[in-house]
Amino acid sequence: MVEKEKKEGKKSRRDFLNILLSGGFIAWLGAVIYPLISYLRPPQIEVVKVNSVNIGKVTNMEKDSGKIIKFGNDPVIVIRLADGEYRAFSASCTHLDCIVQYRQDYGQIYCACHNGRYDLHGRNISGPPPAPLAKYEIAIKNDEVTVYKPSV
C-alpha cells in the first residue's frame, strides 16, 4: 500500500518536474524567438513629408502627353490634355500597385500588368482595377506647374 503511494508520489513529482521543464522551455523559446522576430522586422526609416512638388514650366510638357513624377516616396502621373489642361493622379494601380502610364493611342491611363484602364478623370473603366486613382491637385502660378497633395 505504502509502496503504491510512494510510487504515485514519485510519479506526480516527476510530472510536476516535467511540467516545470516544459513551462521553462516554452518561456526560454519565447525569450529567444521574440528578439529574433523583432530583429527581422525592418526598422522605421524617417519619411520626409512632402506636400507639393513643382514640375516646371507650363510649356515643359507637350499637349496630350503624360509623365511619372516622384512625390515623396509615391509615384504620381501628370497628364496634359490636348486642350492644355493639367491633371494629376496617383500612379499606383489600384489592382496590385503596378505603375500606370498614359496611352496617347487610347487617350486613357493604362496599366500594363493586367490591362487595367482608367479614364482621364482617374475612374477605373476596364480591367481588374477595383477603384479609381486618387486625384492630386494642380496649381499653376507664374507659368509654373505645382502638384499638391489631395485634400482629404
Binding site: P35, L36, S38, Y39, L40, R41, P43
Partner: protein, 361 residues
C-alpha cells in the same frame, strides 16, 4: 489503449525508415565516467557555438552590406537602428572568440587524453582542419566591419602571407584581390566567410561527427586492461545529453551577459591613408605567432627572420597535426611522456606569448 500523438508519429516514421536501429544505437551510446569526464563537454560546446555563429550570421546578412562604402554604415545601422541588432552583432563577435577558445580547449584535452590514437586518427585530422577553418572564419570575418582595426589587421596578416617564398606574391594578390587591401578584398573575404568556408566546414564537421558516432567515445588509456563490467560509464541519452543541455544553456546566458555588458566595439571607419593605430595587434588567437615574429632578428644566418618564423610555425603546426603518426608508443599501450611534455610546452608557449603580446602594448 489510445496511443499518444507522439507515439503515432513515431510509428509512422519507424515503418518507413526503420528508426528502431537508430534508437537502440543511441541508447547504447555512453561516456566514460572518471575524473576527466568534464573535458568531454567541450566538443559539444564548440558545436553549440558554431550553431550560434551560423544563426546570428544569417541574421546579420539580412542587414549587412558588403561593399567598401556601405559596410561600416550597415554595421552602425545594425547596432543602432535595428531592433536587437546590438545583441545579434555582439553575440556573433563574442561567440566567434569563445568558439575558437572552446576548440583550442577541446583539441588540447583530446591531445592530453591521447584520444587521437588509433583508431581515431581521422577524427583528429578532421578536427585540426576544423580548427584551421575556424581561424580562417575569424580572419575573414574580422575585416567585414571595415573599421580601422579590421583594415590594418588584414593588411598585416596578408603581408605575412606575402612573405612566403615562391607562392607569397601570388597568395597575397589572391587574398587581397589586388595589390592593396581595398573593397575588392572585402568582397572576397565576405564570399569566403559566408559561402566557401561554411560549405567546407560543414563537410568536415559532418565527417568529424559521423566518425565519432561510429567509433563511440574514446576511453582513457588506463582502462585498457579493465574488464567491461569495471568500466564506469554514463549513458549519453538522457544523462550526458541533459548535462550537455544544461551547459549549453549556461553558455548562451554567458553570451547574452557579455553582449549586454561588454558590447563589441566599432572603431573609426577604415582609411587606407591613415597611419596604423598605436598598439595594433591581431586577435588573441593569432597574437602568440605575431608576438614571436617580432622577436626574431631581421636576419638569421642567411635567411630572413620573418621567413624563418613562418617556416618554424608551419613546421610545428605540421608536426602537431601529424601527432597520431609519430606517436608510436601510445598505440602500444605505453605511457608517452614526450607527448605530455610537448603539449605542456606548446600550451605554455601560446599562453606566455599571448600575455606578452597584451602587456607590451
Amino acid at each position: 489503449m489510445k496511443e499518444s500523438i507522439t507515439k503515432k508519429i513515431f510509428n509512422a516514421l519507424n515503418e518507413r525508415f526503420q528508426l528502431d536501429n537508430l534508437i537502440s544505437f543511441l541508447k547504447h551510446k555512453s561516456v566514460p565516467k572518471y575524473r576527466n569526464t568534464i573535458w568531454y563537454y567541450f566538443g559539444g560546446i564548440s558545436l553549440l557555438l558554431f550553431i550560434v555563429q551560423v544563426t546570428t550570421g544569417i541574421l546579420l546578412i539580412m542587414y549587412y552590406k558588403g561593399s567598401e562604402d556601405l559596410a561600416y554604415e550597415s554595421i552602425k545601422f545594425i547596432n543602432t537602428k535595428v531592433s536587437f541588432g546590438w545583441l545579434i552583432r555582439s553575440i556573433h563577435s563574442w561567440s566567434a572568440n569563445l568558439m575558437i577558445l572552446a576548440i583550442f580547449i577541446h583539441m588540447f584535452s583530446v591531445y592530453f587524453l591521447k584520444a587521437f590514437r588509433k583508431p581515431r586518427e581521422l577524427t583528429w585530422y578532421t578536427g585540426v582542419i576544423l580548427l584551421f577553418l575556424s581561424m580562417g572564419f575569424g580572419f575573414s570575418g574580422y575585416l567585414l566591419p571595415w573599421d580601422e582595426l579590421a583594415f590594418f589587421a588584414t593588411k598585416v596578416g596578408t603581408d605575412i602571407a606575402g612573405q612566403l617564398p615562391l607562392v607569397g606574391d601570388f597568395l597575397l594578390k589572391l587574398l587581397r584581390g589586388g595589390e592593396d587591401v581595398t573593397g575588392a578584398t572585402l568582397s572576397r573575404f565576405f564570399g569566403l566567410h559566408v559561402a566557401l568556408l561554411p560549405g567546407i566546414f560543414v563537410v568536415f564537421l559532418t565527417m568529424h561527427l559521423i566518425v565519432i558516432q561510429r567509433q563511440g567515445m574514446s576511453e582513457p588509456e588506463e582502462w585498457k586492461n579493465k574488464k567491461e563490467s569495471e568500466k564506469e560509464t554514463i549513458p549519453f541519452f538522457p544523462n550526458f545529453a541533459v548535462h550537455d543541455l544544461l551547459i549549453w544553456l549556461i553558455v548562451i546566458n554567458i553570451l547574452a551577459i557579455l553582449a549586454t555588458f561588454f558590447p563589441w566595439e566599432l572603431g573609426p571607419k577604415a582609411d587606407a591613408f591613415a597611419s596604423a593605430p598605436v598598439g595594433i595587434k591581431p586577435e588573441w588567437y593569432f597574437l602568440f605567432m605575431f608576438q614571436t615574429l617580432k622577436y626574431i632578428p631581421a636576419k638569421v644566418w642567411f635567411i630572413e627572420g620573418e621567413l624563418l618564423g613562418i617556416f618554424t610555425f608551419g613546421l610545428a603546426g605540421l608536426l602537431w597535426v601529424l601527432v597520431p603518426f609519430w606517436d608510436s608508443k601510445t598505440p602500444k599501450g605505453k605511457k608517452n611522456k614526450i607527448i605530455n611534455y610537448v603539449g605542456i610546452f606548446v600550451i605554455s608557449f601560446i599562453i606566455i606569448f599571448t600575455i606578452i603580446g597584451y602587456l607590451l602594448d
